[in-house]
Amino acid sequence: MTQKFYKEPGVKDSLQIRRQRQGDYFHSHPEYKVERDNNKCIRCLVCVRECPYDCTYFDTDRNVIYNIDANCVNCKRCEVMCPTQCIEIRDWGNKFRDNAYWDFKHWGSIYKQADTGAVVLTGLGNDEDYKSYFDRMVLDASQVTNPSIDPLREPMELRTYIGRKPETLTSEDIRNSKKIKTLFPNISTEVPVIFAPMSFGAISFNFQKGLATAAKKMGTFFNTGEGGLHPDLLEFKDHAIVQVASGRFGVSSKYLKNSAACEIKIGQGAKPGIGGHLPGEKVTYDISQTRMIPEGSDAISPAPQHDIYSIEDLRLLIYAIKEAVEYQKPVSVKIAAVHNVSAIASGIVRAGADIVVLDGFRGGTGAAPRIIRDHVGIPIEVALAQVDERLRKEGIRNQASIIAAGGIRGADDIVKAIALGADAVYAGTSAMLAVGCTLCQQCHRGKCAWGITTNQADLRKRLPVDIAAERCTNLLMAWAREIKEMLGLMGLNSIESLRGNRLKLRGVDLSEIELKTLGIAQAGI
């Protein structure tokens, strides 16, 4: 709001579309076109004020609002806020001659790279047209011989305990439930959905607090990401999973103790094998407090944790954390889904992790090089199926819970993931969508028009805490209802009975090897 949004750019600037400038694009090809119906525009300038990307201007002399289309990212903020709905954002369309091979992503990147010599960054998750296995699996339903259950009438159990389970229970234990020693700390969630790790810095404080509030209300958890726990969120500590990543931002023994569980981040589905980097200009006072680094300094967390070069080293860190929390909290290890993930997961479980988080390649990110986001990693469905199978075969499935992350879009995906072997899922992008995200993939620019992935003082006000909390709570509530319906139709009354129950899944339009990898049968059999 400090920007002089209403001022028309000078003649020079207004010609920038056709001008070649250092750091500017050689060919400035707009991706989108902002069409404004002048018969409906009332010049209220709401759109001008709302656009954070310097795309919309008001020409005071001609009394028209116009756009520099090259700046438009299709975040749809103006479209939604316009009181007369006179704005429509369209695909520019007229790019190059039709070419199925040289798509815009590639030639557009080349222009940018040729201009700057830099890596093309992007946000959100993989948007390429890879096969989605979730969409090729269908669920079973009860008919006649095994009646379905009406969730409105009968109780449905969605509570999930996450963490290491004991090897055996003796018959004495079972007779007297008070005698059962769990031996291992577990966290219990009322909905098998946990909010995915998103650090304060990548997302706004308001959104994180909203997630925390929703998690507390729904009896589940939110994850701090690697950015530390803000002092104001201490009241939600029993619903916080705190992350320890290579940069160790905000990590101290207090931080580890102020949590429900601790998570060691090895990799992220959107960018397996590379690290994170919060540029210095985004490290404001608040963020510096949370991350415990000076204001304005870069927050670099490189790919490997330099004290972890092997499973043995990982065990060291896992137990260092367990010692620090006096064995009171489960320790989770989050890895990206990559080739041979089952062997890696097996090693992680043997290293002492109580929870293994698998992050598929559709997982989101605050910022990642586009090529890595789009081309590295494997789908969560296959990774999950393989890991679950491997751990079962090795007889160590009880030693750790599996959390599936990366592109969970709804209750259908949750049910399918749990049937494939997950204990619970992480939902990140869905939570962002719940608070208004329009998937414009500009998270890395820190100027989110919806106040989600920004900490700019004026923009982050756009998402008030209570609205975020309410919407995220509603989302979980709706999902819980849908999951209950799905369980009911399968004749199950507890989410536990679904876990790893691949008999409830059938594949459609999948090859034999794909069915085998997923461990499911062809539909009809």
Binding site: A118, V251, S252, K254, I293, D307, E323
Partner: protein
Amino acid sequence: MRSKYLIEIDAKDVYYKDLNELIRKEIKKGVKDIRLLNVCGQRYIGDGITANNVTIHVQGVPGEDMAAFMDGPKLIVENNAQDGVGNTMNDGKVVVHGLAGDVLGYGMRGGKLYVKGDCGYRVGIHMKGYMDKVPIMVIGGKAGNFFGEYMAGGTLILLGMSTNNNDRPVVGDYCATGMHGGIIYIRGIVEEDKLGKEVKHFELDKYDKETLKPILNDFCKEMGEQFDIFDFSQYTKIIPVSKRPYGRMYVY
């Protein structure tokens, strides 16, 4: 003299989990001085302990990740230490009267870590200062590769004196790669090709000498020996030339 503030624990054949539990219990009781006898590779001594004015003497060789996440106590090791000492340490003091292994003071945010002898690879990685917290690490001997990598704050001092590797250079390759904050002082000459391209080396100025003096005095005091390390002309200072080593790498 025995008092309720002082306790001796014989760590012989005690599992690390039990030993650490015992230490935590004693500290909760109010014991201020703990002597661990016959320590032989028990890991995580002092891990996550939040307490002030507590001293833990370790006789024997402690295991890995000693003083990880530690917040306050003072740890004195009369022998060598292993890898991962002071991992993500928040506050406190660790004095090692011998050698130490790899990855010392990873992500260390505060406190002091003194090692008399040599140390291994990846020492002082990700050290960061924050507000009034300035982590200080002094290594008496020589260091391996990746010394002070990604360093973001604090003070890292390498003296290169009490060493077992006389033929080795004072610091290994890739020193201070990716460093974007803090200061490294090395007593000796560091070749340009060993340094990361984000940093430059300088001679010490008046301010440096004033900061170094009390730290070195404290180091000598803790080690109980007066070392000949106060000739500041021997030192090289390494600081980052850019706060943004990776600033121009990305385009939107």
